[in-house]
C-alpha cells in the first residue's frame, strides 16, 4: 500500500476530490496548509509572500492503482493547458499497515 499526499491549490481542491470520488477513490483526508515552493513564494516589489495557502489531500491506496490516481490528480489540479507555477506537488510514501477502527481489522 502507498500513501499519496497531493498539495494542490485550494480552489482546485473540490474538483480534484470530486474526480477522485468518480474514479473510485472516495476515501480521503484533507488538511489546509501553508507553504512555499521552488520560487520561494511570490514577490511583489519588496514584499514577499512565502506562506501561500494550499490544500493537502491524503489518500491511501493499493500500489497497483498508483498510475490511475496520479493521472486523475495531474489532470485536475492544473491551471491552464500546460500547468502553471504553484500548481503543487505530489508525494508518495510507503505504508506498512492499515487498520480500520470500526472493525478493528487490518486492511483498507
Amino acid at each position: 500500500m502507498i500513501m499519496v499526499r497531493a498539495i494542490v491549490r485550494p480552489d482546485k481542491k473540490d474538483s480534484v476530490l470530486q474526480e477522485l470520488s468518480r474514479a473510485g477513490f472516495n476515501a480521503a483526508t484533507v488538511v489546509d496548509v501553508v507553504g512555499r515552493g521552488k520560487q520561494n513564494g511570490i514577490k511583489f516589489g519588496d514584499i514577499v509572500y512565502d506562506e501561500i495557502p494550499k490544500s493537502l489531500i491524503m489518500v491511501v491506496i493499493e500500489e497497483t492503482e498508483k498510475d490511475k490516481i496520479l493521472d486523475v490528480i495531474l489532470r485536475h489540479a492544473k491551471v491552464g493547458e500546460n500547468g502553471s507555477f504553484g500548481d503543487g506537488k505530489i508525494f508518495i510514501s510507503a505504508i506498512d499497515e492499515v487498520y480500520t477502527v470500526s472493525s478493528g481489522l487490518a486492511g483498507l
Binding site: 500513501m3 483526508t29 506498512d96 492499515v98
Partner: protein, 135 residues
C-alpha cells in the same frame, strides 16, 4: 521507528489522548482535518441515524435528505482529527490496539483509519540526538 497516522472522530480526541498517555507514548501531534471514507453500500447501517438526523431538520427543505445521506454514507467531507505519533517498532501493536479500543463505536462505519508508515530518521532539536534515541 514507525510513524502512526490516525484519523479519528472529533469527539474522541479526549479519550484518545488519555489512552495514548497510558500506552506510553511520549508525544504526538494533532491536526484538524476534513475527510471522508469508503462509500457505505449497505444502506441499512445508516438508516437509523438518517432518521434521527432528518427528524431534526425542516421537513420542507428539499435538500435535507440529500445532505443527510451524503453526511452519513461518506460522500461528503466531515471534520475529523489527525494524530501523528512517532513510536518504536515494538510499541506499534499496543498503541494501535489502544486507539482502536477507545475509538470504536456502535455505528459500524466512520470511526476512522490508522496508517503505519516507515520512518527513516528522527532528530531531537534540543540535543541533536538521532534515531530511536530521539523518540
Amino acid at each position: 521507528m514507525k510513524e502512526i497516522i490516525a484519523v479519528i472522530r472529533m469527539n474522541k480526541v479526549g479519550p484518545t489522548k488519555k489512552a495514548l498517555v497510558e500506552a506510553g507514548v511520549a508525544g504526538f501531534t494533532a491536526l484538524k482535518a476534513i475527510g471522508r471514507g469508503k462509500v457505505v453500500e449497505n444502506i441499512e447501517i445508516i438508516a437509523d441515524r438518517k432518521k434521527q438526523l432528518l427528524a431534526k431538520t425542516n421537513p420542507e427543505d428539499p435538500k435535507a435528505e440529500q445532505v443527510a445521506t451524503e453526511f452519513l454514507d461518506g460522500r461528503g467531507l466531515f471534520p475529523c482529527r489527525m494524530f501523528t505519533i512517532l513510536v518504536h517498532d515494538e510499541q506499534v501493536k499496543t498503541i494501535v490496539q489502544a486507539i482502536i479500543k477507545v475509538n470504536k463505536t456502535e455505528h459500524k462505519v466512520g470511526d476512522g483509519k490508522i496508517f503505519i508508515l516507515p520512518l527513516v530518521d528522527a532528530v531531537r532539536v534540543r540535543t541533536n540526538e538521532h534515531g530511536d534515541a530521539a523518540i
